[in-house]
């Protein structure tokens, strides 16, 4: 098993963790953390699979470089939106998640 394939498998694990966190956690900041972990897993898969025969491939590496910059742009915008929601509603959760939790406690 080459280094690339090993890290691609790690990327698959991170992808699963990030996806589960994004869908299951109600708090918006944790969703943003999970989204970043999801992205990092996808980047590892992209480069790892491209280099699974042991060579160094510059094209997926350039794509991941682009992806990292876009990820921080999305994170910054998501944080600004989450803070705006905090400003307006006083909670860091989406209204539908909060409604679910309330009917659950009732």
């Amino acid at each position: 098993m080459s280094v690339g394939l090993l890290y691609a498998l790690a990327g698959a694990a991170l992808f699963a963790i990030g996806l589960a966190g994004l869908l299951a956690l109600p708090h918006l900041l944790r969703k943003i953390l999970a989204f970043n972990i999801l992205g990092s897993g996808a980047f590892l898969i992209l480069v790892g699979l491209g280099q699974r025969d042991g060579s160094v491939d510059p094209v997926p590496q350039a794509m991941v470089l682009t992806g990292i910059v876009v990820a921080i742009a999305a994170t910054a915008l998501a944080l600004a939106l989450a803070r705006q929601l905090l400003e307006l509603t006083g909670r860091m959760q989406l209204p539908e998640d909060r409604a679910d939790a309330e009917t659950d406690d009732a």
Binding site: L5, A8, L9, A12, A13, F15, A16, I17, L19, A20, L23, A24, I45, L49, R52, D53, S55, V56, D57, P58, V59, Q61, A62, M63, L65, T66, I68, V69, V70, I72, A73, A74, A76, L77, L79, A80, L81, R83, Q84, E87, D100, A101, T103, D104
Partner: protein, 218 residues
């Protein structure tokens, strides 16, 4: 029912992870060998480092759109900021201030070096821009830079300069060939020009993403 949902989600995500792993282990060998294509064409690309060549020459269109996306995200953040009054800088502990004043020029120097060396070794516009942004964040944390929400003209020019220079070069070579095909004799100089403008813009934009979303705490 609602208590069970997170467990179901985690189980399904684990299933997806296992399926991905199984698919990866069953992949056949490569059908297309892109590193060979890159190595064959790098002599005419204008730079010696393959990743810079891919980013700024072979896949230059992707980088152009990426800069536009970064700028769009900044517009979104600026649109969400509540008050447009300039938020003053509260100077921090003198030790932090001194450290910031010492480190910031060094970081600008490192950014310039990363920009220059990107043509032949790991480096380039994004890494240099990130170091510049880090200098901006450091100055903000030391209280030497005010948080801002309404950029003045000079700052606005700096923010869009990278995208504009990139588009200008793309338009200039459009008459020569297809989009973003640099003439081989000028490729090195054009790439350096674009990267320099990109470094400034990326540094300012990333710093702005931090500066515009923070506020002064009493």
């Amino acid at each position: 029912m609602r208590r069970v949902l997170p467990v179901v989600i985690v189980a399904l995500a684990a299933l997806l992870g296992v399926a991905l792993a199984a698919a990866m282990l069953a992949l056949p060998p490569h059908a297309v060998r892109l590193p060979d294509d890159v190595a064959a064409n790098i002599a005419v690309s204008g730079v010696a480092h393959p990743i810079t060549a891919v980013l700024l020459n072979f896949r230059g269109y992707d980088t152009l759109l990426e800069i536009a996306v970064l700028l769009l995200a900044l517009f979104g953040v600026l649109a969400l900021v509540k008050s447009h009054a300039a938020r003053a800088a509260h100077p921090a502990h003198p030790l932090l201030q001194t450290l910031a004043r010492l480190l910031a020029p060094l970081m600008v120097l490192v950014a310039g070096y990363l920009l220059w060396v990107g043509a032949s070794a790991p480096g380039g516009a994004f890494q240099a821009g990130a170091v510049l942004a880090a200098a901006g964040v450091l100055l903000r944390l030391a209280g030497l830079l005010p948080a801002w929400a309404a950029p003045a003209l000079l700052l606005r020019v700096g923010l869009v300069l990278g995208l504009l220079v990139f588009i200008a070069v793309a338009a200039a070579v459009l008459g020569h060939a297809t989009l973003l095909t640099y003439p081989p004799a000028l490729a090195g100089g054009l790439i350096l020009t674009i990267e320099a403008a990109l470094t400034l813009s990326i540094g300012l934009t990333l710093a702005a993403l931090y500066l515009a979303s923070t506020e002064v705490r009493p």
